[in-house]
C-alpha cells in the first residue's frame, strides 16, 4: 500500500494524474456546490436572524429616539411660542413705559373660563398677593382684554371685553369720534353712541378713549366691520371685531400701576376740569 501511495505521489509530481484529478473534481463539484449552497443558506439564515435582532434593537432605539425628539420638539415649539409671546409683551412694555405690569398666566378656560357659552370671564393665576386689585385693566400684546372683577389672594377673575356686562369708552382713531363699546351675548362687540352725521367706515380702528378713568387711553380694541346707521335713531352704532383672539389667550398683562376710578368719580373729574 505504501509503495502504491509513493508511486501515486511520484506520478502526480510528474503530471500523469492530472486527468484523474480533473475527473474527480468534476464529479465532486455538484456535491460541493450543494453543500456550499446549503452552508451559505444556513449562514444567511443565521446572519438574517442576527440582522433581524439587530434591526429590531435598532428599531426600538430609533422609536425611542423618535419619541424623545417628538417630545423635545413639542417642548421647543412651546418654548418658542412662549418666547414669542413674551417678546411681544416685552415690546409692548418697552413701547409703553409709563405703566407697571404684572405678567400673569391665564388658568382655566380661556375664552370665557365662565362655564356658560353666553358669558365671558377668565381666571388668572395672580391675585391680591401680586398687587392685583379690582378694576385693573388687563391687556395682551394684541390689545385690551378686559378688567379684573374679582380678586382672591392668589387668583383673580377678569371680565372680558366681549362679555355683555362689559362697556368701555372708546374713540375711533382717525376721526376721533367717541362712543361706547359693549360686549354682546354671543361674544361680539358693538360700538354705540356714535353721533349721527359723522362718517364711520369699516376698517376704522377703535381705541380706548380714557374717558371715565376706568381704562388708560390708546389701548387697541379692534376694527369696525359694519356700520349700523338709521336716520331716525339719535346715534349710529357699529360692529367691532376685537384684535384680541379671546380663544387663544394664554398670557396677559395686568396694568398694576393704573389706578382706575369709578364712573361717578370720572364724571366729577370731568366736570371739575370743565369748570
Amino acid at each position: 500500500m505504501l509503495a502504491i501511495f509513493f508511486l501515486a505521489v511520484v506520478l502526480d509530481q510528474l503530471g500523469y494524474l492530472s486527468q484523474i484529478r480533473t475527473l474527480a473534481q468534476a464529479t465532486l463539484r455538484p456535491a460541493q456546490g450543494l453543500v456550499t449552497g446549503a452552508a451559505s443558506q444556513a449562514n444567511d439564515v443565521l446572519d438574517r436572524r442576527q440582522t433581524l435582532e439587530q434591526l429590531q434593537q435598532d428599531r426600538a432605539f430609533l422609536q425611542s429616539e423618535v419619541n424623545r425628539l417628538l417630545v423635545e420638539n413639542i417642548q421647543l415649539r412651546e418654548l418658542e411660542r412662549e418666547n414669542h409671546q413674551l417678546r411681544e409683551l416685552l415690546n409692548y412694555t418697552r413701547n409703553n413705559p409709563n405703566f407697571d405690569y404684572t405678567t400673569a398666566s391665564v388658568v382655566g378656560r380661556v375664552i370665557g373660563a365662565d362655564p356658560s357659552n353666553l358669558l365671558y370671564t377668565i381666571f388668572l393665576d395672580v391675585g391680591a398677593k401680586d398687587g392685583i386689585t379690582r378694576d385693573m385693566p388687563v391687556i395682551s400684546q394684541r390689545g385690551l382684554v378686559g378688567r379684573v372683577v374679582e380678586v382672591s389672594p392668589t387668583s383673580s377673575q377678569v371680565l372680558l371685553l366681549i362679555d355683555p356686562a362689559s362697556s368701555v369708552n372708546t374713540v375711533i382713531q382717525n376721526t376721533r369720534v367717541e362712543g361706547i363699546v359693549r360686549g354682546e351675548l354671543g361674544g361680539t362687540l358693538l360700538m354705540e353712541r356714535i353721533p349721527q352725521g359723522v362718517t364711520v367706515s369699516p376698517g376704522d380702528l377703535v381705541l380706548t378713549s380714557g374717558l371715565g378713568g376706568n381704562f388708560p387711553d390708546k389701548l387697541v380694541i379692534g376694527q369696525i366691520t359694519e356700520v349700523l346707521q338709521q336716520d331716525l335713531e339719535l346715534f349710529q352704532s357699529a360692529r367691532v371685531r376685537s384684535t384680541v383672539d379671546f380663544g387663544d389667550l394664554e398670557t396677559v398683562l395686568v396694568l398694576t400701576a393704573f389706578q382706575p376710578v369709578g364712573y361717578e368719580e370720572g364724571m366729577l373729574k370731568l366736570q371739575e376740569d370743565s369748570n
Binding site: R109, P115, N117, L118, T121, P164, E184, L185, G186
Partner: protein
C-alpha cells in the same frame, strides 16, 4: 327612627359619589372647555350630569344636585347669583317628569338632553334679559343655544350610560349614587 337613619345614611353615601362627580364636571367645564369645543361652543357638563341624575334618581336628588351645580356655576360667572341655580333647578325638576317613565333603551333619555338644554339656556337668557342685558334671540339661539344643545346630546351619550351603570351597581348593593 331606624328607617330615617337608614335613609339619611343612604343619602350621605350617595353624596360621597355624586358631589365629587359634580365637582369634577364643574372643574372639567371650566378648564378643559378650551379643548372640548367646536367653534368655541362647548358642552355643559354640569347640566348633562344633573339631567342624567334627574332622569335616573327623581326629583329629590335632582333638586339637590341642581342646587349644588347651579351654585357652582353662579359662583364662576359674572352675573347675579341665582340665575344659573334657578334655571338649573327648574330644568332638573321638569326633567324628572320622565323619571317615572319606563325607558326601554337609552336613546330617549339621551335625546331628551336636547330639549332640556334648550329650556335651560332659554331660562338663562330670560333671566339675563330681565337683568338688563340685550338679547338678540334668534342669533343667540342659532349660534350658541342650538349648537350647545346638540353637543350636550353627544356628551349625554357618554355620561348617561355611565351613571346608569353606577346606578345599577347601587341596586346590586355595591355602590350608591
Amino acid at each position: 327612627m331606624k328607617k330615617a337613619c337608614l335613609s339619611f345614611r343612604r343619602t350621605a353615601i350617595s353624596a360621597y359619589v355624586t358631589l365629587p362627580l359634580l365637582t369634577l364636571a364643574v372643574i372639567l367645564q371650566t378648564t378643559l372647555n378650551r379643548y372640548l369645543n367646536i367653534n368655541d361652543i362647548h358642552p355643559n357638563l354640569v347640566l348633562v350630569f344633573v339631567l342624567s341624575c334627574s332622569l335616573l334618581k327623581g326629583w329629590q336628588r335632582a333638586i339637590l344636585l341642581a342646587l349644588a351645580g347651579g351654585i357652582f356655576l353662579d359662583l364662576l360667572t359674572s352675573v347675579h347669583l341665582g340665575i344659573f341655580t334657578i334655571s338649573l333647578m327648574i330644568t332638573a325638576l321638569l326633567a324628572t317628569f320622565w323619571q317615572t317613565r319606563y325607558f326601554a333603551n337609552m336613546i330617549l333619555p339621551i335625546l331628551l338632553a336636547f330639549p332640556y338644554s334648550l329650556l335651560f339656556n332659554l331660562l338663562i337668557l330670560i333671566a339675563l334679559r330681565l337683568s338688563g342685558y340685550s338679547v338678540a334671540w334668534l342669533e343667540i339661539l342659532r349660534t350658541i343655544v342650538v349648537p350647545e344643545s346638540l353637543l350636550n346630546v353627544l356628551v349625554m351619550v357618554i355620561i348617561y350610560p355611565l351613571l346608569t351603570w353606577l346606578n345599577n351597581q347601587r341596586q346590586k348593593g355595591e355602590l350608591r349614587i
